[in-house]
Symmetry: C2
Subunit: 227 residues, 2 copies
Amino acid sequence: MAGKKVLIVYAHQEPKSFNGSLLKIAVEELTKQGCSVTVSDLYAMQFEPRATRNDIVGHLHNSEAFNYGVETWEAYKRGCLSKDLVEEQKKVREADLLIFQFPLFWFNMPAILKGWMDRVLVRGFAYDLSKIYDGGLLQDKLSLFSFTTGGSKEKFAIGGDIRYLLWPMQHGIMHFCGVKVLEPHICYAPENVSEEKRKEMLAAWTQRLKTLWKEEPINCSPEWYFK
Amino acid sequence: MAGKKVLIVYAHQEPKSFNGSLLKIAVEELTKQGCSVTVSDLYAMQFEPRATRNDIVGHLHNSEAFNYGVETWEAYKRGCLSKDLVEEQKKVREADLLIFQFPLFWFNMPAILKGWMDRVLVRGFAYDLSKIYDGGLLQDKLSLFSFTTGGSKEKFAIGGDIRYLLWPMQHGIMHFCGVKVLEPHICYAPENVSEEKRKEMLAAWTQRLKTLWKEEPINCSPEWYFK
């Protein structure tokens, strides 16, 4: 939708990968719609996933015993977070829609993307003491987890529903900060299917993006995940 | 139990933290029992969480398009994984019990620990094509997730059962590799309780460790998580 701002946080090492193709499609299609699209290409940026003292510029609130949550909260209020975090927070603040594009690693996002969540979404910026879930500080934003898997849909179904693993990401992070969650976009085992099937999956993503702004967010409650 | 080997993978920046105390207790108590205890102190080691080309020494299997899963699998078979991964795999191979000690970040482990999972548990070492779950390559090992939370038990209960968030870690990683899972050890909101309560929590951990080797693993199926 023309005028909307989209941040794509992308976590794949290889532009020629299937994830790279999904990213390219999203940038092209959303730009064509008149959206303003920003990409945080985490591996290309060599984004730091480790939550350390380096995230605070200058002196600590309590240098006797380092507490990451307290220190980043205090640093956020003082405007003393490290430059890379300030830049990511600016992108998040401006965005109407956050798309996370990644390959599933161990029923979860890759560490580099988890590090983006750990370091960017600090207290004071994304949530606060009584400002969580529907009262979170990042309201009026949408999010979408778009990922590829190694295993087939059938293989995932053996262990249990794939929605089980979306709980910590969608509910525990996005919903916690007040961000609304669109249906995830899952491409199963692109490495193990035919070229034709891969093309179909890419076309389906383009197609979905065309009507994305008309979608209703999911009801991010236990029923959606564990019904 | 005398003679048992334990690997503690520890993810906290501050030795004086509550997580630091839990680590110290585990090392002391298990050593007292005659166990051989190894600690991977991830922040102190500046452990790399990012899954990159640097994890493969020498030439790539396919340098045209980098595929982390394929490259680390091939490198494992050729003995060409980077030194830090080889060292961690040696520790895992020798261990009878893996304890993961960390503060919960966003319904999940911190990125530095997720990076340990992503990079250490490569195909060929931890699992293989038809060797997953009860057939995984790390059978005859136990694991235990021991973590602290920011929120109280009551706060966690609002959103849904805390077991929901254990699914990707316990089932998606440990069970997937054939590792048996002991009951998690959760210390709720140590930062927000009295000094007396904190001492009680530390004493409870010591107490649990005393009879740990008599525990039965959980039944790591959807029923345990979502009953």
